[in-house]
């Protein structure tokens, strides 16, 4: 443990890996096809050669990024995602190379929603989005019952707001 804090313990669904592989594959494939289409068009209409070089470069980058985002990233992200939700705080932690530890007071939570795309639906998973006044955070790929329970729990806990003001006498 690099930073000496109590780490959150709850994990996201192992199916997240497959969901992300699928959706990332789709995105990468679309990008790849667009670049290929441009290359074909370039050859056909006789665009300047440097355009073609850039497009070939883009294809190389696209292949490398596919390798990362389809093969490595989903597995690493799923492995490192942790969260913890109690009466006072929401703690999130994720990332392998760039590790993030996030701490959100429950009293600052403005809204909580669950979302489900077609890939998540296939595995009966939900993304849980927690919004504060200044930003929003997503806990991805949580099994249905857990996600709905969390949403209800946060909804109740977040009703209590603090005033952003200090107590008159600090204890």
């Amino acid at each position: 443990m690099y930073i000496n804090i109590e780490e959150p313990t709850r994990r996201i669904s192992p199916d997240a890996v497959r969901v992300w592989r699928l959706s990332n594959f789709l995105m990468e494939a679309i990008g790849f096809l667009v670049i290929c289409a441009l290359l074909v068009a370039g050859n056909h209409f006789g665009w300047w050669p440097w355009v073609t070089w850039i497009l070939w470069g883009a294809i190389g980058i696209s292949l490398l990024s596919s390798l990362y985002s389809i093969w490595f990233e989903p597995a690493w992200l799923q492995k490192t995602w942790r969260y913890e939700i109690d009466e006072e705080y929401i703690q999130l932690q994720h990332g392998r190379f760039n590790k993030h530890h996030t701490l959100i007071p429950m009293a600052k939570v403005e809204y909580v929603t669950t979302n489900q795309g077609p890939f998540l639906r296939k595995y009966d998973l939900y993304d849980l989005t927690i919004g504060t006044v200044t930003s929003s955070h997503k806990i991805p790929a949580i099994p249905k019952e857990q996600a709905l329970a969390l949403r209800a729990q946060i909804g109740v806990l977040a009703k209590i707001k603090d005033s952003d003001e200090e107590m008159d006498v600090a204890p």
């Binding site: 000496n4 804090i5 190379f97 993030h100 007071p105 600052k108 504060t132 930003s135 204890p171």
Partner: protein, 490 residues
């Protein structure tokens, strides 16, 4: 509870909108009815028709808007009734108001009126309640209600028998003046803001605009030839230009910052400025989210600092921010002012520096911008490629300075952070005002034993602050520090 009454906006509101409508269409009027007055072309005629129709539409809309827009204010809530065809009702609780701005432009002044904006600090278009035109008495009444709202909310149920007589506006509490900009301050401001040079870009753009019509190039060439043979003549010309621009610069500064007064009472801070357009800003002391101290290069060299009060509500647009405690104060005086206005804040001059390892990691991080610039030079301007070397030196110096000037301080109630290389920014906020935090560390940072701190404060625009490369122990300390906030918050 006082029975609120639905009111129209002031009856001269349409007049104000008409004036701004005419102002906005001056160009079209000039083009269609003066430049092309005699034109018979079908296109111009069509444009004229279209213009008149749209004017007619706009004018009708202005009047209908006035007829159908109403507001009412109770002790706790402002309600706006909007919309001509689609009716809309907006309720804003007075205790949610983050700051109040009052602007009196030239037309307002002529008619002894003013305008008022109540900022709520929510996102989106509906963040503010605007009263575009109202009497000073009504503005004072609304300000008084906003001020009272918090107290009324705290101790409700003071049952007042309902009567027809309007309740008199609650008196504004005693105010004390803390700062008034004198002539000396304004002269300093004119020099430091460089507004005296503002005339040159204006002259240039004028020149090029006229050039389009009258082909000035020939004239300017003959003028140039004239002066080239009589060089000494340039001296008085240059001096006159300088004097003129200094005067214009001073007038600009004077109109913007003249009559700058900061005052405060027990609960609120009031800032007022401007000669032709007068702006007033007031914020409750406990709604100040943070204090930001900015020192651009020039101000740092002259020992000046600009202190801004960060509010969750909007504080005006970029070139007319109203949350600043006079931008051209000597740093010491600025700090003294903050201490007097906000005694609960403590600005400390002794802050902690970053560890040595932070310097190495900062120097080691890839120089993306430099790489891109070098590639661009190599591709487009090969003969200037040598520029890449001095550029690299500049980047190294900047990183070194950034390391030197990055400081922080974490105390029981506050966090204070200073960043920047050439110009520096210091941010001071209370633990209880921080909305959420994040501690991050990258692979490279782990090799050097450092981490980064991030936190969000309510502010418009959003203020997300990052402090890079503090020791990893500080990262953990920061996390726990924020986690303990529950013991301190009301």
């Amino acid at each position: 509870m006082m029975e609120a009454e639905r009111q129209h906006f002031h009856f001269s509101w349409p007049l104000f909108q008409l004036v701004s409508l005419v102002k906005g269409s001056v160009f079209f009027i000039f083009y269609l009815f003066i430049l092309k007055a005699g034109s018979d072309s079908a296109f111009i005629l069509a444009l004229k028709g279209l213009f008149i129709a749209s004017m007619f539409f706009s004018v009708t809309k202005i009047f209908l808007n006035w007829v159908y827009t109403r507001y009412e204010i109770s002790d706790t809530t402002v309600t706006l009734y909007l919309g001509i065809f689609v009716k809309k009702q907006r309720n804003v609780e007075l205790k949610r108001i983050q700051n109040v701005q009052q602007t009196t432009n030239f037309l307002h002044r002529l008619l002894k009126l003013t305008s008022l904006t109540l900022e709520t600090g929510t996102a989106g278009e509906d963040a503010a309640v605007k009263f575009p035109v109202l009497s000073h008495a009504e503005a004072d009444r609304i300000k008084g209600l906003v001020e009272e709202a918090k107290r009324v909310h705290a101790e409700p149920l003071k049952s007042i028998t309902e009567e027809e007589v309007p309740v008199p506006s609650p008196p504004l509490p005693e105010r004390q003046i803390y700062f008034t900009a004198g002539m000396k301050d304004l002269v300093k401001a004119a020099f430091t803001s460089l507004s005296m040079f503002a005339i040159f870009p204006i002259l240039f753009s004028l020149y090029f605009q006229f050039d389009d019509f009258f082909n000035l190039d020939e004239t300017s060439q003959s003028v140039f030839a004239f002066f080239a043979s009589r060089l000494w003549l340039l001296v008085p010309v240059f001096l006159t230009a300088l004097l003129l621009s200094a005067i214009i610069g001073f007038v600009t500064t004077y109109s913007k910052y003249g009559k700058f007064v900061i005052s405060a009472d027990e609960h609120r801070i009031y800032i007022r400025k401007g000669i032709f357009t007068e702006t007033q800003f007031s914020i409750r002391k406990d709604k100040v989210q943070a204090i930001k101290i900015e020192q651009p290069v020039l101000k740092r060299l002259l020992g000046m600092a600009e202190v801004k009060l960060i509010s969750a509500g909007s504080v005006g647009n970029d070139d007319n921010e109203i949350n600043s405690l006079f931008p051209f104060l000597p740093a010491k005086e600025a700090y003294r002012l903050v201490e007097e206005l906000l005694p609960q804040y403590e600005i400390s001059s002794s802050m902690q520096a970053l560890p040595k390892s932070a310097l190495w990691i900062r120097l080691l991080r890839p120089y993306y911008f430099w790489i891109a610039a070098t590639i661009a030079l190599a591709v487009f301007k090969m003969e200037w490629l040598w520029l890449s070397a001095p550029l690299f030196v500049i980047f190294i110096v900047a990183r070194f300075l950034e390391y030197r000037y990055t400081r922080y301080r974490l105390t029981e109630r506050f966090i204070q952070i200073q960043t920047g290389a050439f110009s520096t920014t210091t941010l001071l906020t209370k633990r209880v005002k921080i909305q959420e935090i994040e501690v991050t560390h990258s692979w490279l940072q782990r090799k050097f034993g450092v981490s980064s701190l991030h936190f969000h404060i309510r502010s418009k625009p959003l203020l997300a602050t990052e402090l890079k490369d503090v020791p990893r122990e500080t990262g953990a300390q920061f996390y726990h520090w924020f986690k303990d906030r529950t013991h301190f918050v009301k």
